[in-house]
């Protein structure tokens, strides 16, 4: 496999992460300097499930670098609907673009696709698996607000199916971070993520209740608990209500606590929290563009060098 595919956060070292974050900071400081840097390059957007934000964020990032994007469009109207394999689709699309972004509903889709293409491939979410570019922008936001060492990060919500959580948890093991996971028993971290956390010697604890840990946190990363995970609507309401925060809940938190969320949120963060100093989730979403610009810039740069 090429070294310049980005499939899983587990492949990222501290140095890899810092390189992307530093480049994103340079872009943030002087966006105009990066315009036109990749004019002539085309990024292929392969979204096998809808994701307006992630798709637009990659699209914007590429255009801000002066490049263009080509979009395979909705799956409903494509040959995928006719039963073409992902491997075939990707082998065709790699001929159209200098790099590909893949969002797919099945776990392992990006790892498989990477075996079939020679252009850099970025995983933009594979089922309940991984979402490494979200993690890079999460880390960027965490670094801006709290630094990345000697901090305590609480991650709350659906830890089982939340791919952003899986990627973030493994990336954080590169730093001196205490991780406090808060979820209902039925939505605990999957075995594979716990295995990696344990293997890396990370400082990790699991809780079913936020109360005991909130006061210690520098970062609280909230994710949505999806209704469809519960067979029974009442069961969902009971659980979801307990993993919801409002402004009053945050009274016990540190003044410097930063609340993050990969968005979209439903009601797990009350709107009144938006007006507190803690809320940084919109800033976090905006960071998606410079982060993806930084990532694409380094992938396309490596690729050009490789061709010479």
């Amino acid at each position: 496999m090429r070294q310049d595919h980005l499939i899983s956060a587990t492949q990222l070292s501290r140095a890899d992460i810092e390189a992307v974050l530093d480049r994103a900071a340079e872009i943030d400081a002087d966006p105009a300097a990066w315009h036109g840097r990749h004019s002539g390059s085309i990024l292929g957007l392969c979204f096998f499930e809808p994701s307006t934000r992630t798709r637009m964020s990659f699209d914007t990032a590429m255009k801000r670098l002066g490049g263009r994007t080509t979009d395979m469009g909705a799956v409903e109207s494509s040959s995928v609907k006719k039963g073409e394999t992902l491997a075939d689709t990707m082998r065709v699309l790699e001929g159209y673009a200098d790099a590909l972004v893949l969002r797919h509903p099945s776990e392992g889709a990006a790892a498989m696709a990477a075996e079939f293409v020679d252009v850099p491939l970025v995983n933009a979410g594979d089922g309940a698996g991984q979402h490494p570019t979200q993690t890079l922008l999460d880390l960027y936001t965490i670094r801006e607000n709290a630094g990345l060492d000697d901090i305590t990060v609480g991650i709350m919500g659906d830890l089982k199916y939340g791919r952003t959580v899986h990627s973030l948890a493994s990336a954080l093991t590169n730093f001196d971070v205490r991780q406090e996971f808060v979820s209902p028993e039925s939505l605990r971290l999957p075995r594979s993520v716990r295995y990696d956390l344990h293997g890396s010697g990370a400082q990790v604890r699991e809780h079913t209740d936020l109360d005991g840990v909130l006061a210690d946190l520098d970062i609280l990363y909230v994710t949505r608990i999806q209704r469809e995970r519960f067979p029974d609507e009442n069961e969902y309401r009971k659980v979801a209500g307990e993993y919801r925060i409002d402004a009053e809940d945050l009274d016990v938190a540190k003044d410097s606590l930063t609340v993050l969320h990969p968005l979209p949120r439903v009601d797990e963060i009350a709107p009144e929290v938006d007006d507190t100093r803690h809320a940084k989730y919109f800033e976090q979403a905006h960071n998606g563009v410079p982060i993806r610009m930084a990532l694409l810039d380094s992938l396309l740069e490596t690729d050009t060098e490789g061709d010479r």
Binding site: S8, L86, A87, S106, E107, A111, M112, P190, S192
Partner: protein, 156 residues
Amino acid sequence: MTDTDRELRVSKIRNGTVIDHLTAGQALNVLALLGIDGSGGETVSVGMNVPSDTLATKDIVKVEDRELSQSEVDVLAVISPEATINIIRDYEVIEKQRIERPESVEGVLSCPNRNCITTGDEPIRTRFAVLEEGLRCHYCDEIVRESEITSHLTVT
């Protein structure tokens, strides 16, 4: 006299494979692994919970006219690390193989994660990394513990 000799005397096969020293209870899983359900007409002898010198009890499987592929041997090594494989030609053991735990198992087991890309019609072989106490899907990262392997993984 070794216990293998004694077993062979009970029901000798002319050509084929004797899988001996299987962890008790694994014989039927091994048949499943080899894709043997009797419908293919193979001559198969199975001993279950047979007293053993080295293990308290063991299972034993003898299959006429069949040798094992490397990937089958690899899976066998995971579900029954103590197993031995004897290849028989003309009633004689011509090769006695002690199996080794592989680093990965390819193409014989299917991933229990129903949402894994390998469960679709993609042109790839399944691949599992062998961990200390289980297997991990190379594609979706799903981990299957050793004790669950035979109930959670299906042989392709």
